[in-house]
Subunit: 144 residues, 2 copies
Amino acid sequence: MMAKYKDIGIKLTPQRLAILGYLEGNKAHPSAEDIYNDLHAKYPTMSFATVYTTLATLRAKGCISELSIDPDKKRFDPNTSDHNHLICTSCKRVVDITVPFDLTLPEDSASDFMITGSHVEFFGICPECKKNNRYSREDMEKCV
Amino acid sequence: MMAKYKDIGIKLTPQRLAILGYLEGNKAHPSAEDIYNDLHAKYPTMSFATVYTTLATLRAKGCISELSIDPDKKRFDPNTSDHNHLICTSCKRVVDITVPFDLTLPEDSASDFMITGSHVEFFGICPECKKNNRYSREDMEKCV
DNA sequence: ATTAATGCAAACACTTTGCAATGGA
DNA sequence: TCCATTGCAAAGTGTTTGCATTAAT
């Protein structure tokens, strides 16, 4: 995410500024629906279409990244620097993992792919779900 | 995936046997649609509903796992043992990575989660897409 | 003034579900 | 026989798109 929105090179409409402001420093890895729901109260004219198209635009500009961490919906991350994630398989909360890992892939394991990146996901049960017993054996086996 | 299907403990209908046979040793990480398309020719009565419900049943029985590697559709893997994946961000081909990684997560990084598993995904461009120039800068930045 | 962005609603893609009919066990 | 499974079609999610209107530059 950029410091000054003008540098992004897109028209700064009130809707886009609201979305940019919402995402700035946001560590919740929100879905499009999360964003719409939270912003619609304050910006009644905010539409789903605008949220979706703005997210697509910001992604194309490299301002945010799209996570396929949740099998049921896309989640968005304003932190585009290299990092990994820890996911609660019960409530789908996602938290950042900033410790680095050595993910050197032996040349002969790469199947002649041109490797461009990697991502580690840890699965688990978050403290809240644990405390409230909101988890089952299935949740624990399920890796999102 | 089990050696003898009887051990799974489900009714072995022709449709389920077809799906089980299709998945056995399958390294393509097919989607429900892939499975339906490939089997429908041979088993004309095979329906989408049966594919979906059978996949859900097999997953609940622990015979297959569901991957959220592809943001647009669920992919299924009959290999339920611990392994990782390499994904072509252009054609969405998924290949197995069997080399192990040390993914020890420091206690203080786990945010009090009860860790239950992990998964590494590598992104890249497969040889076919590379050869046919079926990739863009966007594809290479896109991490599925 | 130009041209891109907006809101709406319809369309789309993937998945799930209700229900009567079927067929394994 | 009995009850789970099937196929169909409808419904349910999440996402994208066409288009007339609006507004940022």
